[in-house]
Every structure is written in C-alpha cells, then in structure tokens.
Symmetry: C2
Subunit: 285 residues, 2 copies
C-alpha cells in the first residue's frame, strides 16, 4: 500500500474540505476525480482545473478506477454511500474520510465494507468560516493537525499510508489516536469551545456592543459563525463526551461565580494562576 | 483646556500601559515625566528615551509642573495617591486614568478632588499578554477603542480634550459612555470572556491535549494567560454586572446541554443560526 502520484484519487463531496484535498493532491500530480451532486461545484472545479474529471452522479467508471477514495461528506451519508456503491470499488482501494467524529461511524463502516478494500479514518483539523469548493485552499492545512484514527481492524500499512497522506497534504503535525481518544479530545478542544461561543452570542442580544469589542471577544466568538446542519450533527454524534465536558465547564463557571459573589479574592487569584500555568502548555512553539 | 504638545505630561505608574502612553505622546513632542516605585522601570525608560524625566518617589517638583497627569495604576491605588499628593497638583491640571472599571472609582475620585483641577476618566481598551514598560508599544492602540467616561461633574471641554487625547494616542475609535454603561459593557465583552477562558483551563487538566488543539481553542484561551492581581481586582470591583452576565451565560449553556441531551436537533440548529446572525454584527469592517 503506497502513495504514488500516478494514482487515481476520487473525492466524494466537493466542498471546502474536498476541494482543499483536491488542490493539494493535484499539485503533486495525482489524477483527481470528484463526485458531488451540485453541478455548479463540479463545473467550477473542472473550469478552475482543481479536478481532472467530475460527475454529479455516482459514476461507475470514476468509482471503479479510483485507487484512493476520500469521503468529504456529512458523517451519516458516508455509510449509506458505501453500502450502495462499494460494489464498484476497485479491489485493493484505500478509503479514508475527513469526519470530525469517529466512534459513531468508523466501526460501522468497517463492519459493512468489502474485505478487499481498507477504510482508514482521518480527521484533518482545519477549517474556515466560509464554505464550498470556491473557498477551498490547501493553505488551511499548513499550521494544522492531521489525525489518523485506526481501529484494530486496520493494517499497520494503512496507518503508515494515512500518516504519509497527512504529510503530503501539508499538515504540520500528524498524530495517531484511537476513535475513543479522538472523540474525547475533540469534545473538549473543539465542540465545547463552539458551544461556548454559541452561548455567548445567544445568552442576550449584545449586538449593540459591537463598537466596543476588544480583540479577545472577537477571537472568542469567531467560531459562533457556524454551519448549523454540520455542527448540530457533530454535537449529537458525540453526545456523551460533549455532555461530560459541558457539565464540567458549567460546574467550574459556577465555582468562579460563587468566589466572585462571596468576594473570595485569593480563590480567584489561585484559579487565574492555574489557568495561566496550564495555558502555557498550549502556546505554539 | 487644550492639548498642546509643549505641555508637561506626568505618568504615574510606568507599566505596559503607562509606557505605551509615554511612547505615543513623546513622539508628538510632549514633555514626558514618570513616577514609578520600581527603579528598574524608570532607569530603563530614561535610557530608552521613553521619558524625559523620572522618579521612584512622588516627587513634588514633577507633580507640580504637570499640565496633564495620567494614572496608570491599579484601580484602588489611584484614590489613595490623589488624597495624599493632590496638594502638589498644578492649578488647572487635567487628570485622567486608564482603569478597566469605572463606577467604583470615578465618583469617589471626583468627590475628593480639589476644585481647581479636573478628572476625566478614560479606558484605553488595548492590552497584551505581557507586562511592564519593556513591552510597551503604541502599536497596540491602532485597532483598538478608546472610551471617554464622563460624569455630570465633568465639563464639556474636558470631554472634548479626552476625545482628542484618544485620537492623538492613535486609537481607531473614540467613544463616550457613562460609567454605568461602561461597566455593563465591559462586564460582557471583556470580563465574562476572561472568566470563560479561565474556567476552560481550570475545569480539568487538559494540557496533554496541547498537541491537538485547533486555532479556535488557542484563540479562545489566549486570554487565560492572565495577571491574577489586576484581574481579580477588576472582577471584584465590577461584581454586580459581571455576576449578572455569568448567570445569563451559565443558564444559556444549560439550555444548550439540555437540547443536546434530549436530541433536540432543531433547537440546536436554531441557536446556531441565531449565533451566526448575531456574530455578523461583530465582524470588523
């Protein structure tokens, strides 16, 4: 199982992420095909030479010649798509995805998949506040993390293959995590923060304060601009870890508000020292 | 009451903010004096030509010749300092500050102040995650807001004078607010966000996740690196507005977690649409 730049890559779902994969890999001379039900996305990508071939249908020929298939669809659509069209997969093909939740789909996909192809899950932790293939750019991978998320069913070759894919795409860090570790981590560093940003915007109408906001507020709420279809699905598919994180966070906010109410200056200072100390670990090198 | 670049400015408290005022005003040919109890800060500022004269003591001569006095001290120290040394103030001097809370100090200061000088409160909404005169820079004013916070006791001339000061310092926006409006606004856009960033860091030890963090997490927690002496004081001095904000926020987080728990997809989507719509008002032009 090797990554060769003569291989045919099929991208299923040509949005922001699919388009960015296409741009990064086509630049390395892979042959790029894409399937997306939106004719405008396919037409644009062909015209802009982001892809070599494209179709708005699950084209049997495009599917059948792919050495690599990347699913850049909403989580729940992937399993359905594979059930229906895996009959056309090339024997020996390697399949991967870009989904932000793992436990709820990876095992199911591996369960139903043909034995002569392999699915290795990945999560490119990159994004923008805009959508669609027109906004795609491989630049968003540069400072970002690429997570390879294997199960016991995966071969070591597939894990190595997927790590190499992350490096070829241009990610600065490539890491391997189990689906459970992944979902717990993503609940905390990504979903909880999105939930906080939403609550900050919806807890009261403060748009009249826009003129007064400092950078800290804008940074914190940048992600409150959110695709509600995708993120409601991601939240619900990772319900248990995310609920645990939200509960821990609410309980800590309550500790802080009680310290404030009772005038516990030393308690507040101790919390601030701890937060400063822990935050230091998150500074970029 | 005019801002003339031949005037003597005295900065009391030569840290990050005092030093940045000094740099911005000295470049405009004001004569800059500073008082700070730390000999290293004064020595450094003299050597680096950030100030023209300096003292580690409340020097009677420096105080007496100042046309403008800027207090860049911790909130509760200002009143004390004025009580003790206002006997040396030049008649007609204009006094301002840089404090992040207003109602709790402005009225008190105006109450005790001599009749022949005027105190006009200001809040330069700029900052860095580093401290001290060595890190001072007038560049931090460029994209920031300068708030003039007058009371009924202030003259219209002092308000105009202070607005002009904000423009001379290089702030992009200069706005006038009452102390009560100011404190309510700052509770929401600044203090609540700092409180959230602290709670996110202290709710569990997640430093082992540092390798996996996305930009959104780093943006949200940048301000968790916090000066505990200053911020515990700011929180406690603005207790009522901040408590109300924290309670509203906790209650909204609870609504979201209950939607998640009960699988209320449409409810989550509606919250996300509202947050996206409101956040649009905060985008920088």
């Amino acid at each position: 199982m090797k990554l060769l730049n003569t291989q045919n890559v099929l991208i299923v779902g040509l949005g922001l992420m699919g388009g960015s994969y296409a741009k990064a890999l086509r630049r390395l001379d892979f042959h790029i095909c894409a399937i997306d039900k939106d004719p405008d996305s396919i037409e644009y990508a062909l015209g802009a030479k982001i892809i070599d071939e494209g179709s708005t249908e699950p084209d049997r020929e495009l599917i059948g010649k792919a050495d690599i298939i990347v699913f850049a669809l909403y989580p729940m659509l992937i399993k359905e798509w594979i059930s229906e069209y895996q009959q056309y997969f090339k024997s020996g093909a390697v399949i991967t995805d870009v989904t932000g939740v793992k436990s709820c789909i990876v095992y199911d996909i591996q369960e139903i998949l043909r034995d002569d192809v392999e699915f290795i899950a990945a999560h490119p932790m990159a994004g923008r506040e805009v959508y669609g293939v027109r906004n795609s750019t491989e630049k968003m991978f540069r400072d970002a993390n690429f997570l390879v998320v294997p199960t016991d069913k995966n071969t070591q070759q597939a894990v190595e293959w997927c790590k190499e894919l992350g490096r070829l795409l241009g990610f600065i860090n490539v890491t391997v995590l189990s689906p459970e570790e992944h979902d717990k981590m993503i609940g905390f560093v990504s979903q909880l923060t999105h939930c906080i940003a939403i609550a900050l915007m919806t807890c009261s109408d403060n748009t009249h304060l826009a003129d007064y906001t400092a950078d800290s507020f804008r940074d914190l709420t940048r992600i409150a601009n959110i695709n509600e279809v995708m993120w409601s699905e991601l939240f619900l598919l990772n319900k248990e870890p995310l609920l645990a994180d939200i509960d821990r966070f609410i309980s800590e906010m309550t500790v802080l508000r009680n310290m404030l109410e009772s005038g516990d200056r030393e308690g507040l200072k101790a919390k601030m020292r701890l937060s400063t100390q822990r935050r230091a670990a998150f500074n970029k090198v």
